[in-house]
Symmetry: D2
Subunit: 146 residues, 4 copies
């Protein structure tokens, strides 16, 4: 059972890019997604409530996102949903993340010029999930929470 | 952009059923969902981390869920994902809910006897979202958080 | 990039169950799925056009589906979408299949009694896709087309 | 029950853009999507079979797609899946279309420069589905099949 999830929305923070000591590139930012619904009593479309997500990408997708995505952009993201409770000793909470498998600017909202740089995709489904990636993610979450 | 989301998992709490003063039936429970991944270094499948969701249903789906679903059952749910920050004065947090559009027992894990009771479906996409439903949801969230 | 797809609909044919010479259980049936939409000129919900799918399941899910699902039932299915061109020498066409990962009766339409028979799930993501499964699928497709 | 579907893949034909007599912009192209899977006997990732879709967009998304998307690009699309049997008198078949709600270049494969041109989105969920749109789609399908 895959828990893939696709969402479109507004990039709400400047993307943060870092490379771990192990050499793994990571980019993350916050995404605000609202769904409009038709209010029949008012006979108009109104904004629904907003879902907030942390979007995280790794490897080549992280590198390309860092150079292409800015705060205020409208994007489309597909990835794995991760709901995680965290506790850093002082505070605790729940984070809702999407680990992006694919993402791009949403052409509903503008045009793009695409420069293809990758000819053969590196392994996107490297499910043996090297420890460095998990550690790197921890560093990032730690950084965010502190 | 729809934010429909499908998840399979284990019903982790006894479903709570209530009918609001306005007559709206609501059923909710917690669902634990784990995705297995292949660990190549160990050459075996291992359980991934668990996503926890609150599953909420309304109207006929709430009535049928209340009489059919028990703690420990394996189910499949499709619905709208809702990430909400809440604050009840004393505490605050983030809830991750799925407002179910369809749900059922997952036949991967057992067999079912189906008794069809609904011949014509009531409006599943009643997007004018009568105030009573939103209020009822608030009551439920309030009840959970208090 | 997963191509998981979730659909709810009406079971339109009696499920066909077979076990291949290699011992692989397979169940398949046709599913009709219609989406209603709001027609503002008529101020009413109308049925949209119908999507037709062939739903195929393997192993334990096939066994449980064969004993639980009947023509006329309302179900929910999640699986991988497969669009395939076929040509059996005499005729050719396009088949649209969902290889089910999870499926169950949709409680929007009735109630179910669940008998859990599987305690530990067999590998649902056996991606080395033993040849027997592909061959079995070919047999099934061949049978359908002839 | 939404039948939203997300897919990433390779743009396989030069996008065709037209504006109907009623003034509705439409863009369509073919998309090839392959999913890789891990072949444990060969201990390597191999390309799975390819799903082929016709991607259709309307209004502003059609205009922006026509100026941004080229044959050979890697994109991500989210939209409604439509499986339709067609018969133009001489031939018949099954078309598998995705009516795009959002689409963009996939940053897994390159970088993009985004020029936002739309500040307030026009109604993306105009569910009264004016006849002109359906007619326009028929024209397009007719054109393709003839």
């Amino acid at each position: 059972m895959s828990e893939s999830f696709t969402v479109s929305g507004l990039v709400a923070t400047t993307p943060r890019h870092l490379v771990t000591q192990e050499g793994l590139p990571i980019t993350s930012f916050r995404l605000a997604s609202s769904k409009r619904r038709y209010d029949r009593s008012k006979k108009t479309w109104v904004d629904g409530e907003t879902n907030w997500f942390t979007i995280t990408s790794f490897r080549q997708l992280a590198i390309n996102s860092a150079s292409s995505v800015s705060k205020g952009d409208r994007i489309l993201v597909c990835g794995k949903l991760k709901v995680r409770d965290w506790d850093n000793g002082e505070r605790s909470g729940t984070s809702v993340e999407i680990e992006a498998e694919s993402l791009g600017h949403d052409l509903v909202w503008g045009t793009t010029e695409f420069n293809r740089t990758v000819l053969v995709r590196e392994d996107p489904e490297d499910d043996d999930s090297d420890a460095s990636e998990v550690e790197a993610e921890s560093q990032l979450v730690g950084a965010k929470s502190s």
